[in-house]
């Protein structure tokens, strides 16, 4: 069997890619390492998923079900409990090595779609000092314990980081009877969406401490307390502001990193800003026939856009590709990133979707796109800020682009 596409990962991105590709008549194999598809949505039991796409507030499992329910009927082959360990280029496509309960298997396909999602940052990535007791969890682990296993990770909980998962867990633990002492955020603005500050913290009178972070963990076998300190504008702790807070759990909601070991081993070019592969407008990475979608491409705020990026890739899947003519997009430093990072001039150039984040908060800015020094598109925003991913649709077909053209994105501030 030679598949048209082998999709690695059965979370929202992989499900959307598999469904769209199968509906288009392609032979699709979806490989998922857990017991069933759904990815992180399986444990995201809160609602708010699908507002953009379905105009409904679904829970995570319901959103996943919208895609997984019709998958096999559409003709996709789904293998769960299957762990992909290697991808190599082979004659006419790619060779995927994977293992399941029955042993090692090799699968061959024309295209690879990397839908491997992301991993949480742990205390190691934020260099959190102190002892190494039990009771220090990432927010996702705490969420798995509470929502899948029915276990409470602690009764007096400190949460470090104000990203959405941390806020959601503050509410969830409170509902389950734990006391959430506070959410501590090193930056001077919360990382999560304003609506989650409102419905997860304000609703339950959970304090949010900005410009504050955990500076030490105490306890031998089990965590007994944390020291929190105020930080200055550069994120350095301010001596004399230390406060010892007794607790039996510390939950870390300190960010996500796209999981791209497979892509890196394959030799894909990685964007240091997104930590995901560099892609063109079809989500095709630097090796033709390899696509990166969803959170393995860049960390998204909304699952709706995870599915969208996967469907863009699925629609571009083909058995043959013409030679690529790559044009990199030029960014001013006010962007954290823009995805896609490049255009293939031999692929469709109209109605292209771009996702971006600014590198700082800009009030009343204007996003301007220029081609060869001429401004061709602009949009005013009330605010651009790193926690809010923005999405725009642009068409470049009419500009007669060639390899020497220059496309630039810039953010203008002030009049």
């Amino acid at each position: 069997m030679f598949y048209d596409a082998i999709i690695i990962g059965g979370g929202p991105a992989g499900l959307a890619a598999a469904l769209e590709a199968s509906k288009r008549g392609l032979a699709v194999l979806l490989l998922e390492r857990e017991d069933r598809t759904g990815g992180i949505l399986k444990q995201c039991i809160h609602d708010g998923f699908g507002i953009v796409r379905f105009r409904e507030k679904l829970s995570g499992p319901e959103y996943a079900h919208r895609f997984s329910a019709g998958l096999e009927a559409a003709g996709a082959e789904v293998r769960t409990f299957t762990f992909v360990s290697d991808i190599q280029e082979c004659d006419g496509g790619f060779l995927v090595t994977a293992s399941d309960a029955s042993g090692m298997h090799e699968f061959r396909g024309r295209n690879i779609v990397l839908a491997t999602g992301c991993r949480e940052r742990t205390r190691n990535q934020i260099l959190l000092p102190g002892t190494r007791p039990a009771g220090v969890y990432t927010a996702g682990t705490a969420q798995y314990l509470v929502n899948r296993l029915g276990l409470l990770p602690g009764k007096r909980v400190v949460i470090l980081g104000s990203g959405d998962i941390g806020l959601i867990m503050a509410r969830r633990l409170t509902l389950e009877g734990a006391e959430v002492i506070g959410v501590y955020e090193i930056k001077n603005t919360p990382s999560g969406l304003p609506r989650n500050i409102a419905q997860c913290l304000l609703d339950f009178n959970i304090p949010l401490h900005l410009c504050s972070t955990v500076t030490e963990i105490h306890g031998k076998k089990r965590i007994e307390a944390v020291t929190v300190s105020k930080v200055d504008a550069a994120g350095r702790k301010i001596p004399g502001t230390e406060e010892r807070i007794p607790c039996d759990a510390l939950i870390l909601a300190v960010g996500l990193i796209p999981e791209n070991e497979l892509g890196e081993k394959l030799g894909l070019r990685i964007d240091p800003k997104t930590k995901g592969p560099e892609v063109d407008q079809r989500m095709m990475a630097s090796i033709p026939g390899v696509f990166a979608v969803g959170n393995s491409l860049h960390v998204n705020d909304l699952v709706d856009y995870v599915s969208e990026s996967a469907e863009i890739a699925a629609r571009a899947l083909s058995r043959e590709y013409s030679e690529r003519k790559i044009l990199k997009i030029d960014l001013d430093p006010k962007f954290m990133y823009v995805v896609p990072q490049m255009l293939d001039l031999n692929a469709g150039l109209d109605e292209l979707i771009f996702y971006f984040r600014s590198n700082a908060i800009y009030e009343n800015p204007r996003l301007v796109v220029s081609v060869d020094g001429v401004d061709v598109w602009s949009r005013k925003y009330m605010i651009l800020q790193p926690p809010l991913m923005e999405r725009i649709k642009l068409s470049f077909g009419k500009f007669g682009l060639n390899e020497n053209s220059k496309i630039s994105f810039r953010i203008e501030v002030g009049s």
């Binding site: 039991i45 953009v52 829970s59 499992p61 079900h65 409990f81 969406l193």
Partner: protein, 119 residues
């Protein structure tokens, strides 16, 4: 004057509600205006949680209320749900508990049961 953050969509509009006529400012859409009026008079939330089941392959099933319930009843409803144990397999969207504590909302399953044993 009351200041609110709209929770209807990810925009999270900052709303101000003024006077007895409940004049709403700052909302980008009509749903936001409606949210603000309800939020002042009778704040309501959808509750998402899990219920314990008797099935070893799926010991906790994710559920939510079929519509918003009064915010001040959330903890009481959680207590009720904690004392409940699901003894039959329901499909996604099916009611697990009907008319939850007289709120008029059903508690509905938001996922399918796992049939196979987990390794």
């Amino acid at each position: 004057m009351t200041e609110l953050i709209c929770i209807i969509c990810p925009n999270g509009c900052r709303l101000t509600v003024k006077g007895n006529g409940l004049k709403v400012e700052g909302a980008k859409c009509a749903r936001g205006k409606e949210f603000a009026r309800i939020e002042i008079e009778d704040p309501r939330r959808v509750l998402c949680t899990t219920v314990k089941t008797v099935f070893s392959t799926h010991p906790y099933l994710s559920v939510r209320t079929s519509k918003e319930i009064p915010k001040d009843k959330l903890m009481q409803v959680m207590k009720e749900i904690k004392n409940f144990r699901l003894e039959r397999k329901v499909g996604i969207g099916e009611a697990v508990i009907e008319n939850l504590l007289g709120t008029g909302a059903d508690l509905i399953a938001t996922e399918e049961f796992i049939e196979k044993e987990v390794l």
